[in-house]
Subunit: 182 residues, 2 copies
DNA sequence: GACGAAAGATTAGCTAGCGAAGTACTTTTC
DNA sequence: GAAAAGTACTTCGCTAGCTAATCTTTCGTC
């Protein structure tokens, strides 16, 4: 009980100043005529900075396995689906939010390295099925390991209680966002 | 008091299922041999998705003022500094995290449109000073207005209490991240 | 105070990804 | 059952941004 109380106090203490605090303080005054809210700006800016950090960790994890970020991400979306390691170029392009033309380029490179292969679908010969190879699976798994570490370390700088709160509140935001696009 | 209690209950209620929940459920099993934590994955994935949504709102805000995202962002970093509307190409390139060469290209385009001008520094003639023009300021302010709206709407889907908690917890993460890079 | 090193910006050549057009199939429609 | 419309992927030409090289000016030091 007193432990719980201690935890509460500990969690609720405001952390020291960060880059965003300085940014907000500097910018508060320059928005004359435009609606401005410190708290909104703080949340939005911090989410942006955290996301950028996470992107960087993905890039580093890829580099540690001698992969380009785009190569890692392509293998990744190929693996994290209902049918792991198997998908059409169109599906992958949608997941990666790149064009079909861009996808062809990426797949060409991956195929040349022997990490995926193209097989044509028997039932519909317009379609191509991308299949990850054992070599591709192995290299993806390697990068995956490095990546987890950095994410775990970031999140473990929070108490269990903060982790749960954060997840809950973030989910409110994603639920809102997902309710927007029909 | 009873209102406060109600709010507490309301805030703490788990929101409905989102994309990330489905993603986590689907992927929990496929990580055999790799450390995996639902909560970490949830936080990381949600932050990524929210950041992407925010990026999209910036892009839309820019488009609504007939600006390319890169044009808006360039004007933006030029405006949000200690000396608003005035900076060197190198400083801008650092803020935008693009190369010097890329910066030259962007500035060429903005100068042609009459939104910035290059003046050379009197004290150090290697340096070029980028100055925003009144026309540039006006177009930036326009895009700025649209942008705030979407961000405000997103954040206002949270209670005041959740907003404060979120900001506090995010700040712990940014403090951690900023402690990493020396 | 001269000359090599450094700094700031630009130019040159390259690459990834884009949109639009093209190719090869499949489905719909009359 | 053949023409028209639609779908899946690839090719083509272009653009933005990258690295490396260059040009101009300034700084440091002997």
């Amino acid at each position: 009980m007193s432990l719980a109380k201690f935890r509460l106090d500990y969690d609720d203490a405001m952390p020291p100043e960060d880059w965003t605090d300085r940014h907000v303080a500097r910018w508060r005054d320059h928005w004359s005529g435009i609606a401005y809210d410190d708290e909104v700006e703080g949340i939005v800016t911090r989410i942006g900075r955290i996301a950028r950090y996470l992107d960087r960790t993905v890039k580093d994890a890829a580099a540690a396995s001698d992969l380009q970020e785009s190569e890692y991400k392509t293998l990744h979306v190929l693996m994290i689906r209902d049918t792991p390691g198997s998908a059409s170029p169109t599906e992958l392009a949608e997941d990666l939010r790149i064009s079909g033309a861009g996808m062809t380029g990426r797949l060409d490179a991956l195929e040349k390295k022997g990490w995926i292969k193209r097989v044509s679908a028997i039932d519909d010969r317009r379609r191509v099925i991308i299949q990850i190879t054992p070599k591709g699976t192995e290299i993806w798994r390697g990068a995956m390991g490095n990546r987890g570490t950095a994410e775990d370390e970031l999140v473990s700088s929070l108490s269990a209680r903060d982790r749960a709160s954060l997840n809950r509140i973030l989910k409110k935001l994603t639920v809102y966002i997902e309710s927007l696009d029909t």
